[in-house]
């Protein structure tokens, strides 16, 4: 029992890293563009399928394939922003962009169904099946690799945000869009690139998700997006650091509940969300009281 709990905690923390990465993309996009990209879940699945295609048909290693899938997802993100998000303006923009993202998600899901069918597929590589022996229990290598990837990607994200001029423009846009525009920042360009970055992380997230989930279908996007939304809301919308904490907390709690109640473990996400929001409507690390409608 003790080692089972320790293993659940280890898997929860390591798996949480990947969710943190996907949630960071989501919350970054929210912070800059003030929209919720509900397509993030299906984009992760799309990233997983891209990795799958590369490894099965072109025999490119999953990790090497990231060099292709990450830029590809970046471009997809920029295109989605430019075609469907940018034209939406006006008072109803909030709800419109959310619905537009939902529609994009539906289309991607439909296309994935057409190309790959509804059967489960899984990613295969030597480091997915092997595992290391740590402190009396076994950890699959992919958990460690996935966690390392997530740490590197989040670290890179932080470097870009806090050490580059471009990162400065992003943060300026997050703080005050009008002021950013006034000092000469091309807000549209920043928004497009941010959406691209937020989408690019789904390539990494998708690869790791495809490897650790044991199998995925086009339908997996719903499960993912509901978890990711729970994480970013729990953390407080727009808080990247908060998303990391919330992601690790949620996946660990889920892994622990999973030991006794496998059927209900997903409910932990939503229950935690509901409880936190009744006590603190802005989330754990929310920046300010709910903005005016």
């Amino acid at each position: 029992m003790g080692s089972q709990i320790a293993q659940a905690i280890a898997a929860g923390i390591l798996g949480g890293g990947v969710y943190a990465l996907m949630a960071a993309g989501l919350t970054l996009v929210f912070g800059v563009l003030d929209i919720i990209n509900v397509a993030q879940g299906i984009l992760v699945v799309l990233g997983a399928y891209l990795s799958y295609v590369l490894s099965v048909h072109l025999h490119i290693d999953l990790l090497l394939g990231l060099l292709i899938t990450v830029p590809a997802m970046f471009v997809i993100g920029v295109v989605i922003y430019w075609l469907f998000i940018r034209p939406l303006r006006g008072a109803e923009r909030t709800s419109m962009t959310l619905l537009a993202c939902f529609a994009v998600a539906l289309i991607i899901e439909g296309v994935l169904y057409r190309e790959f069918g509804s059967n489960y597929v899984s990613l295969k590589a030597s480091y997915i099946s092997s595992s290391v022996h740590v402190l009396g229990f076994y950890l699959p290598d992919i958990y460690l690799i996935g966690f390392a990837l997530a740490v590197v990607a989040i670290g890179a994200l932080y470097l870009v945000l806090y050490r580059t001029t471009f990162g400065r423009t992003i943060r300026a846009t997050m703080q005050n869009q009008t002021a950013a525009r006034l000092i000469g920042i091309d807000v549209n360009r920043v928004a497009a690139l941010t959406f691209g970055i937020g989408t690019a992380v789904t390539a990494i997230g998708g690869m790791v998700y495809g490897a650790i989930s044991g199998g995925f279908t086009p339908n997996s996007g719903y499960d993912l997006i509901s978890r990711l939304l729970a994480i970013v809301i729990l953390a407080g919308m727009g808080s990247i650091g908060g998303a990391l904490v919330a992601a690790v907390f949620m996946t660990t709690a889920e892994a622990l509940v999973d030991i006794w109640q496998p059927d209900w473990s997903v409910a932990v996400f939503y229950l935690a969300l509901v409880i936190i929001l009744t006590i603190r409507p802005t989330g754990l690390f929310g920046r300010r009281a709910a903005r005016a409608q």
Partner: protein, 352 residues
């Protein structure tokens, strides 16, 4: 010119539409046609009910499937446990509505504390909790589904008709209710909340009770509609009873017709639901219609953001103005055309 006519025209038009819908199953006796009719009328009711809450208050709910599914499962369980069958099952519909309304109270108390995105996301979270519960609880039969007792002795030729008229009653009552609410002080309070909740609160609107009441009314109707729907299709599986596409379809219909209007959601449901059912019949694969549905959604959002009714009226008047301007070159005509455009825009505004 239209000032004296429109107040008479509009209820008259509504009565004509109602009459046409009422005789529809007598003229088109083809079961496929009446089948489409039943589902479409259910969506008219749900869409209007959704609009009563989300369209009027501005709180976009993507979780109405929770109420729809709750009503549906209540009917399944109650009909099986109490051994109700035949037309008597229809008597359970108001009860199903009440159960959904009761569910709406705690959900509303939690969700309505937050606004905008966060509210939408919480409604989505509630939806997933409901779907998960339906798959895991014993009451619902889990993922293997549950069967509703079939009304055995109904003639196959007119089998759909009781469902059709039941759906029509619910839909017509819902539209009438929306119309009443819109004219009332309560409706005014809701729209004040939509425009600026803080200012409305400052002016003395007790926002929480008003929002919650609207949600509960909306949930009541949605629950009844869900119960009728499940009795009609005769079986209940968690993934169909709690269907994310249902939420989106309802929102799309309301947006398509015109959010916050009375006729908009009705029109949206009357146009889009048969279209979708027809597409499903044409395509052998579900994903084809899903891609089309998503594309249609994007087109509506990008090009008709305020819905067919308001945007269409604007396009029409702009076009008329341009035609008038082109026809005569004398300087007086453009001024007239502009005046006409403005009058049309006002008429469109008051219609919405």
């Amino acid at each position: 010119m239209p000032d004296r006519l429109t107040p008479l025209l509009r209820p008259g038009g509504a009565l004509v539409v109602l009459a046409v819908i009422a005789v529809f199953p007598l003229v088109f006796t083809n079961p496929t046609a009446t089948n489409f009719g039943v589902v479409t009328l259910i969506f008219v009711a749900v869409c209007s009910a959704w609009n009563l809450f989300s369209g009027f208050s501005g709180y976009l709910s993507l979780g109405h499937a929770v109420f729809y599914g709750t009503g549906a499962y209540f009917l399944v369980v109650a009909a099986n446990d109490w051994h109700v069958s035949g037309s008597a099952v229809f008597l359970l519909l108001p009860l199903a509505g009440i159960v959904a309304a009761i569910i709406a109270v705690p959900l509303g108390l939690v969700a309505l504390r937050v606004r905008r995105h966060t509210f939408v996301v919480i409604t989505i979270a509630f939806f997933f909790i409901a779907q998960l519960s339906a798959s895991n609880l014993g009451v619902t039969g889990g993922s293997s589904g549950a069967i509703v007792p079939v009304p055995g002795n109904w003639s196959p030729a007119t089998y759909n008709n009781p469902f059709y008229y039941m759906a029509l009653i619910i839909a017509a009552a819902t539209v009438a209710l929306c119309w009443q609410v819109r004219r009332s002080r309560f409706g005014l309070q809701l729209r004040a909340i939509r425009d600026d909740e803080d200012r409305a609160a400052g002016l003395g609107v007790r926002a929480m009770p008003v929002k919650l009441t609207a949600l509960v009314i909306s949930a009541f109707i949605t629950g009844m509609a869900g119960a009728l729907w499940v009795y009609f299709i005769g079986e209940a599986f968690p993934q169909f009873v709690f269907d994310p596409l249902f939420d989106l379809a309802v929102v799309l219909m309301a947006f398509f017709g015109g959010l916050g209007t009375i006729a908009g959601p009705v029109l949206g449901a009357l146009i889009l639901e048969p279209t979708q059912l027809w597409l499903n019949l044409q395509q052998s694969n579900e994903y084809e219609s899903q891609i089309l549905f998503g594309a249609l959604f994007l087109v509506v959002i990008l090009f008709l953001p305020r819905g067919v009714l308001p945007t269409g009226a604007e396009y029409a008047s702009a076009l008329r103005a341009r035609l008038l301007r082109r026809r005569g070159d004398q300087p007086a005509v453009p001024a007239q055309a502009d005046a006409q455009t403005q009058a049309d825009a006002q008429a469109a505004g008051s219609a919405s």
